[in-house]
Symmetry: C2
Subunit: 150 residues, 2 copies
């Protein structure tokens, strides 16, 4: 896909991540765009805010989009490489494309998705990486909890 | 693990599936048991009831369990083989064991989980299989929507 389009869409996910941080949460945001480029859903990690470990940024955006008959042609945009949970979501529902803000601070399942035919765009965005680096340094226990690291 | 224990735990997941069916929903249920055998969370698919595609049975049980520092030693019990989304959940959070009611009507990611060190117990329970066979025959469009099949 067009990199300028990917970067434009990433701003929605970054806005979500910043909102999560402002709420005292984990700063990861995501947005789901339709095949026609319309925003279907957006959200951020809600572990702290809702005490809900099932709402990672991607699942939050997916939930916000509500029921859809097909995900063909859709794009999941996320500030951080998707973990196995969120990568499984993408694969199961046939989301066509994933735009990853950065994969420096965490390398999830995006290579696996690429092997299974999902188009992957890694933007290596410095602002996304800085946000996670700062957060992981400040709250390592919360970050480890969020990815199930003992 | 002990098969009698697995079958006993499966009844919790089956009760959840039946509750979902009684609500007009997709009859898949799950339960998360702790390393000490205590029930941590239980739930069922809520696509129809809540208009929420993110709540598969396993993610519903995981959510119900709330925040946990570790999933080491826990067991996810589900009436149906976990899809990629729910298999990703199990792998990411380090859930140790999955008890599968049946994998006849749908074969998800449990082989992949076994390759990655998760203990898998497939019970091939006739009641679980009959419940899904009846549901898929009655509501194929809803079933396909739930697994992202175009």
């Amino acid at each position: 896909m067009d990199q300028a389009q990917a970067r434009a869409w990433l701003t929605t996910a970054v806005d979500e991540a910043r909102q999560g941080l402002a709420e005292g949460g984990i700063p990861i945001g995501a947005a789901l765009y339709g095949a026609d480029g319309v925003l279907l859903g957006r959200g951020h990690n809600r572990r702290v805010q809702d005490g809900d470990p099932s709402l990672h940024a991607e699942t939050s955006a997916f939930r916000d989009a509500g029921r859809q008959r097909t995900y063909r042609g859709t794009t999941m945009v996320t500030t951080l490489s998707p973990c196995w949970y969120c990568s499984g979501l993408v694969r199961q529902f046939g989301i066509s494309r994933v735009v990853v803000g950065e994969a420096r601070t965490f390398h999830g399942g995006h290579d696996w998705l690429a092997e299974h035919g999902v188009e992957i765009v890694v933007l290596d965005d410095p602002a996304c990486a800085a946000m996670m680096e700062d957060f992981i340094a400040a709250r390592p226990e919360l970050w480890h909890e969020d990815i199930g690291a003992d």
